[in-house]
């Protein structure tokens, strides 16, 4: 055991800090820090900058052009990037589809799609959930019927995050109704410009457009867009879910959010004194900081065990639960910190170009919306209930 950074790790941290200081555009980090809405263009700009520096896919295997970052390096980058106000990288192509293609895709799929993920040609979204198949993914219904060299897709996906920006979607589809529900599922890549694909917005409870329904009506997809074998999609889906969870603890985001909260607590006054000095508020904050310091280590321990050869196992379910609960508790405390000014909400003020005076302190407007929006995190990506089932079954054998 040694909690000190090695010389290499120190050098790496310095390199990352320099990169962020030089390359992260201030207008983008400004938006992130003030919780303004990012445009598609903002995401693409940052994506390109990361790619140019070789950071975009640094966690990929070396044989696919990555640098094979270990858990410590990923932690350092995550924390530094969040502290600097870097946007979250859209993960669907880079962190979810790419590992599946590397493991199960054909050479053609790899050589066609991986470069286009990196260079931003294709913006991917995820077609997993369906209206009747949320936590119980295996009950999905969307069908893909083989017809010559093509599959014909019919059905509906939902909760498709940023589907409005995407031009490709990877889908779980049903290619067979034989056997157990898990058995007839296939993993399919779909160009969203294909006729019959329609994206409809879902407005979230705080009024934002972030997720979508994607409808498929007689969508014809070339058979070579099938990943791996027909009816083996469940295996690939589970593999993807494990990789999806590799950043699930959200340590960097949580640390940055706590700094934001502390800044607010220093500015807000309660009975004439900074809220940060209020005994109850300080106690709530301190508990979160204690939990977060522990979770950062838990995250690195679990991820290091995985990168040392063992696959990230059901332990990541603990990170999903703890990470989301902690992040939500930061949201909750931030909401409380504002007092009555948590109530006003002017949606337009989240867009750049809004020029009116803020209502109350300039940090107030997005806070309650953010609190409500983050309720999703314990629901999506396998709800926390599903994670507890996984822990019960796979870690405890119950």
């Amino acid at each position: 055991m040694d909690l000190n950074y090695t010389h290499e790790e120190q050098a790496f941290q310095l390199e990352v800090r320099q990169f962020l200081a030089e390359k992260l555009p201030p207008e983008i980090s400004g938006k992130v820090k003030s919780k303004k809405r990012l445009t598609k263009q903002d995401s693409e700009t940052w994506h390109a900058i990361l790619n140019a520096a070789g950071y975009l896919n640094a966690h990929w295997l070396v044989e696919f052009g990555g640098r094979g970052w270990n858990a410590i390096q990923r932690d350092i980058f995550d924390v530094e990037a969040n502290a600097a106000g870097a946007p979250r990288v859209v993960p669907f192509g880079l962190n979810m589809l790419a590992p599946v293609l590397m493991a199960f895709g054909s050479q053609e799929q790899q050589s066609y799609h991986l470069p286009r993920i990196l260079d931003g040609t294709n913006w991917w979204c995820q077609g997993y959930s369906e209206p009747g198949a949320g936590s119980d993914l295996a009950s999905l219904k969307m069908s893909a019927v083989r017809d010559g060299d093509e599959y014909v897709l019919n059905g509906q996906k939902t909760w498709t995050t940023l589907g409005q920006h995407a031009n490709w979607i990877f889908c779980l589809v049903r290619t067979s109704r034989e056997g157990k529900p898990q058995q007839g599922i296939s993993f399919m890549l779909v160009d969203m410009d294909t006729p019959g694909v329609e994206v409809r917005p879902i407005i979230l409870l705080e009024g934002t457009h972030e997720v979508n329904e994607v409808w498929f009506t007689d969508v014809r997809v070339p058979a070579e867009n099938l990943v791996g074998e027909e009816n083996k999609g469940w295996t690939y889906a589970k593999y993807l879910l494990v990789h999806e969870r590799s950043g699930i603890a959200g340590v960097g985001d949580a640390l940055a959010s706590i700094e934001h909260l502390k800044q607010i607590a220093r500015e807000q006054k309660k009975d004439g004194k900074p809220l940060a000095e209020d005994a109850l508020f300080a106690a709530r904050l301190a508990e979160i900081e204690i939990d977060l310091a522990a979770m950062r280590t838990t995250n690195m321990r679990i991820m290091q065990a995985a990168s040392d050869g063992a696959p990230p196992g059901p332990e990541v379910s603990m990170l999903k639960i703890k990470g989301t609960v902690l992040r939500q508790s930061i949201n909750d405390l931030t909401r409380r910190a504002l007092g009555p000014y948590a109530m006003p909400f002017v949606s337009e003020a989240l867009d750049i170009g809004y020029n009116e005076e803020p209502i109350g302190p300039d940090y107030a407007n997005p806070v309650a919306a953010d609190y409500f929006n983050h309720r999703k995190t314990s629901i999506y990506g396998g709800s926390n209930e599903i994670q507890r089932n996984i822990i019960s079954k796979l870690m405890m054998g119950l």
Binding site: T158, I202, D271, L280, P340, P344, K376, I379, E385
Partner: protein
């Protein structure tokens, strides 16, 4: 001691409940909220005619209610419909008038549905403090000149008259020296900035710049308004807490229905014991909130008022918020959508934590008040 409602009060509850059920579905509510006024004047008039405003004030002021139980019964039902019409604002401002015994003509107009009030007390820096008033009222001729800024004034954008607190003496945080004034919303020097709240209601920032008001706009005694303000605050705390319970009832009901109908892994998700047990705890906490509401309503006029109001509001912020979050979590993704109603109920419950003091504010007030006698439910 008796825990059942009188017949009249039960009829009042049923009447409001019927209105919500029959004429105020969630789409109507959203339409009202999105309208220019942020509420429906037709619905407001209809409810005024049904006597709903009169129920909030005592007979001595021309109303026919005004007790804690009248207020809690009305607002609990309004909460069940997330009703956006400005009952709260008029309860607050009206309570100031009723308790002071001044401006009874205005209160009559309010109860008739012809005049809308709002209560402009909070300020940008006051948070939940009742005595931190920086707005000043200087003597000016026979009247006063008001200067200052009022923050998050509920329904402040559509009111005809404002009840405004201002300091006629004393330092920024002194309890003495605060006065209340009844001010026409269109008086010279008043600037009202309207905005929506995250949960679908309307509020305003109100700037007063050299607003001249006559001497008789004073409500109650000059410099002695703190007792009125505390009384308004208690009535408001009771009202929004009752509203929260009404919203919680709907949230739990919807969640129970969902647990019985939504299937995952081939069975209704209500068959999963982990959800059952959490739901059982929610049911228990809901009854605790109901009890705290009863305790608070029964003590609105007693010397234990503040303890019970704080106990209630703390529970709304603590148990109520937890229930709201669980209603979303148990529904899953659908509860995250604007289209589905449960999220709106959850939003209202959570945002009520930001009115009249949050969970921690009231916990600390309980500590200040001491609690030895107050753990007794009985007022006797």
């Amino acid at each position: 001691m008796d825990f059942s409602h009188t017949e009249e009060r039960q009829m009042l509850a049923d009447m409001v409940g019927r209105f919500v059920r029959d004429e105020y579905d969630i789409e109507t509510r959203h339409a009202n909220a999105r309208s220019d006024d942020g509420f429906s004047r037709a619905h407001w008039s209809q409810l005024a005619e049904l006597g709903l405003i009169g129920a909030l004030f005592p007979e001595s002021c021309g109303g026919f209610g005004g007790t804690g139980f009248d207020i809690s019964v009305v607002f609990e039902q309004l909460g069940g419909g997330l009703v956006v019409e400005p009952f709260l604002a008029n309860l607050l401002a009206g309570t100031a008038l009723a308790a002071s015994g001044t401006h009874s003509d205005v209160l009559d107009e309010v109860m008739a549905g012809n005049c809308l009030l709002a209560y402009a007390h909070g300020e940008p820096a006051s948070r939940y403090s009742l005595s931190q008033v920086e707005t000043v009222a200087q003597k000016s001729g026979s009247g006063y000149r008001l200067n200052g800024n009022k923050a998050v004034v509920i329904s402040g954008d559509t009111a005809n008259k404002l009840v405004v607190s201002a300091r006629t003496a004393g330092g920024n945080d002194a309890t003495d020296g605060i006065s209340l004034f009844l001010v026409p919303a269109d008086a010279d020097g008043i600037h009202i900035r309207s905005y929506p709240t995250i949960d679908g209601y309307r509020a305003a920032e109100i700037a007063l710049k050299d607003v001249e008001v006559p001497a008789d706009s004073l409500i109650g005694v000059e410099g002695q308004a703190i007792a009125l303000i505390e009384q308004v605050n208690a009535a408001g705390t009771l009202a929004v807490s009752a509203e929260a319970l009404g919203a919680i009832d709907v949230g739990i009901e919807m969640t129970l229905d969902y647990l019985k109908t939504r299937k995952q892994f081939g069975v209704p998700i209500g068959k999963f014991q982990a959800l059952q047990h959490r739901m059982a705890d929610m049911m228990t906490e809901r009854e605790q909130i109901r009890s705290a509401l009863i305790n608070a309503a029964g003590n609105l006029q007693s010397d234990q008022r503040d303890w019970h109001m704080s106990a209630l509001k703390n529970l709304i912020g603590r148990a109520g918020r937890s229930i709201a979050e669980e209603c979303i979590q148990m529904h899953g993704g659908i509860a995250m959508t604007f289209e589905y109603a449960v999220g709106h109920y959850a939003k209202r419950v959570v945002m009520i934590d930001h009115m009249f003091g949050d969970e921690d504010h009231h916990l600390q007030r309980i500590i200040k008040l001491g609690a030895i006698a107050a753990t007794a439910a009985a007022t006797a």
